[in-house]
């Protein structure tokens, strides 16, 4: 079946009058190591992972999206698109009915095998850190036929990160942060994507790389480390004073807490092209707070 499609695609490419670059088949490699060939740049894209949706939109191809997953929520316009379920329960029939010519899924998606078996071109991509993000941008840009835009996007992101880092006041440089991703508490360490963003800003992390990307910490560890800043989702920040002993944290007493709303928080924790958004939001928050002693 795949061979048949490839032959047809080749024939069409050779026989139809074509514009110079767009007629060439695009070969892509995804994170699972599979090779996918597209006859032409994708025009009807389904994305089943928020960071992949964001990547497509950052590459100015939001209009080419025909369907997204339930959790994709940036930019606001994508919420109007057909929502095709989450990681576990993708609505296959509905997806196929949209006649996409490219499907972007997470590596861990259960729908991956099924969609491939149905003959759809599927790219399994799941960025876990900055390096992954760069690679994903390149791959998606190539699929869109916009490789230069991909390179430009990456450049822009680097520039924005550097600009944000430049805005960080001297008093904050090198100071250690505490980012909590789940209560119990689970922290984002240096080895995580969030940790990379923080490092790019010239800030530190109380959780060293040796403890892994998302260790479950003894709360005492945080109290002893006395982080200069706490970064939490807004809801968690509200109940922070009720935690036993946390009122003793200098950061709590001085109000050095960045209680992020849903949108900047999602941008911070999702490895993807919005790391620069998150960094900027973080620095904005920093500038509003009293500097650490």
């Amino acid at each position: 079946m795949k061979l048949h499609r490839a032959v047809v695609a080749w024939l069409l490419a050779e026989l139809l009058p074509v514009a110079p670059a767009a007629a060439e088949p695009i070969t892509l490699r995804d994170d699972a190591g599979s090779s996918v060939m597209l006859a032409r740049p994708a025009e009807r894209i389904v994305s089943l992972l928020p960071s992949l949706t964001e990547t497509v939109c950052e590459l100015q191809a939001c209009d080419r999206l025909v369907g997204v997953d339930r959790h994709s929520d940036w930019p606001a316009a994508v919420k109007a698109l057909p929502q095709l379920g989450g990681l576990e329960d993708t609505q296959i029939e509905r997806l196929v009915a949209l006649k996409p010519d490219l499907v972007l899924v997470a590596r861990s998606s259960r729908a991956l095998q099924r969609l491939r078996a149905l003959g759809l071109p599927v790219l399994a991509l799941e960025p876990q850190n900055a390096a992954d993000t760069a690679r994903v941008i390149t791959t998606v840009a190539a699929a869109l036929g916009r490789s230069e835009a991909g390179a430009q996007l990456q450049q822009r992101l680097q520039q924005r990160l550097a600009a944000a880092a430049a805005r960080v006041p001297a008093a904050w440089r090198g100071r250690a942060l505490y980012v909590e991703v789940a209560s119990t508490p689970y922290a984002a360490g240096e080895a995580s994507f969030i940790g990379e963003t923080i490092r790019a800003l010239g800030l530190g992390n109380i959780v060293p790389a040796a403890l892994g990307p998302f260790p479950q910490l003894n709360p005492e560890f945080v109290l002893r480390a006395q982080p200069a800043l706490l970064v939490l989702p807004r809801r968690v920040a509200e109940e922070l004073p009720r935690r036993p002993g946390w009122a003793r944290l200098q950061a709590v007493a001085a109000g050095r807490i960045c209680a992020l709303a849903a949108d900047p928080w999602d941008a911070l924790v999702r490895p993807g092209p919005r790391a620069a958004d998150a960094a900027e939001a973080l620095v904005d928050c920093l500038l509003r707070l009293p500097p650490p002693a």
């Binding site: 789940a182 119990t184 479950q216 910490l217 003894n218 005492e220 109290l223 002893r224 809801r235 036993p244």
Partner: protein
């Protein structure tokens, strides 16, 4: 080996409950001391330096873990006595599912913006806080089970209703979680159980729960003894079984609800504690309930200390450790049974 086993069997039945109580108390005391020393750097005896940490974090956490374990042990023994089933645990009658749903509701309401129903009910729950919600949910789940079973007259009906309610409420929770991914993470944390943030207010709530539930349960323990004779015989002794069973079920809900509200759905403590006691002594239910509470305290506090110490400064989830201990103990029981047979 056989003579050793035979000697063990002989000493088991000869051991007195008082001696077991003393032994458990000693172990508990040792664990309390360890608990006060277990911090982010493993075990440390720098008491003076860490005074603030001990007072703020370690002391209430240690006390809280012990009290929660006691409540779970008590609830487990009550459950096994009420249903005359050694595999019964405190979460049978919809308490766990109810608490889980309430917690999911609060978490989802916190994140969700557009779901009208969630906001309307979530708001009031959110004010109570997560612990309050879990407690209300546990009691609610039990109440729903009682309504479905139309009272506590027949234990089998009650059990079946509990299963149905459990499945129903869990499914509702899963549906909620689909719509709200933040709720998923919080729900998972709740399901596995955690002692990390037990403060003095948690410890006080747990102490209150234990102070109410334990004496009352021990007072009524004779009913559980009578149930051993069978429903008909117990009735022939003049006991108003439906009403008494209702009271015991209410105590079960109270004990479970209090524990679950503070530490989440910790596995195995309620199941294993009564087994351990029964292995070691021959007692009537009054003593069994009290000793199970003591054994439960030892189990959960032991797991909590291990959780803090084994991979410091990281922590292992306490629910995983209780499952490992509990599972290992049940395996040991199976093995012993195989050798004796």
């Amino acid at each position: 080996m056989n003579t050793l086993v035979r000697r063990l069997v002989a000493t088991r039945t000869a051991a007195s409950p008082m001696r077991l109580a003393a032994a458990l108390l000693l172990v508990l005391l040792a664990l309390v001391l360890l608990g006060l020393a277990a911090g982010a750097e493993g075990l440390s005896t720098a008491w003076a330096q860490d005074a603030a940490l001990i007072g703020d974090i370690r002391a209430p956490r240690t006390l809280g873990a012990a009290l929660a374990g006691a409540l779970l042990g008590l609830a487990g023994a009550l459950s096994q006595g009420l249903f005359r089933n050694p595999l019964a645990d405190p979460y049978l009658l919809g308490t766990a599912a109810g608490a889980g749903l309430a917690v999911t509701l609060v978490l989802a309401a916190g994140g969700l913006l557009g779901v009208e129903l969630g906001l309307a009910t979530g708001g009031a729950l959110a004010r109570l806080g997560l612990s309050g919600a879990a407690f209300v949910g546990a009691i609610g789940g039990m109440a729903l089970t009682l309504v479905m079973a139309r009272g506590a007259t027949r234990p089998l009906t009650l059990l079946l209703a509990g299963v149905v309610v459990g499945v129903l409420l869990t499914a509702l929770g899963d549906l909620l979680v689909l719509a709200s991914p933040e709720a998923l993470r919080g729900q998972r944390v709740f399901m596995i159980g955690s002692t990390s943030f037990l403060g003095w207010d948690s410890a006080a709530a747990l102490a209150l729960g234990l102070a109410v539930a334990l004496p009352l349960a021990v007072r009524l323990a004779r009913v559980l003894d009578a149930l051993v004779l069978g429903e008909a015989s117990a009735t022939s002794l003049g006991l108003a079984l439906p009403r008494l069973r209702l009271v015991l079920v209410a105590l079960l809900a109270l004990a479970t609800g209090c524990a679950v509200a503070q530490v989440g759905l910790v596995a195995f403590v309620g199941l294993v504690a009564p087994h351990l006691v029964r292995r070691l002594v021959v007692v009537r239910h009054g003593a069994l309930l009290a000793l199970s509470a003591l054994a439960g305290a030892v189990l959960l506090l032991g797991a909590d200390v291990a959780a803090r110490v084994l991979v410091a400064p990281q922590e292992l989830p306490v629910g995983v450790l209780t499952a490992v201990f509990g599972g290992a103990y049940l395996l040991l029981l199976l093995w012993r049974r195989g050798r004796l047979a």
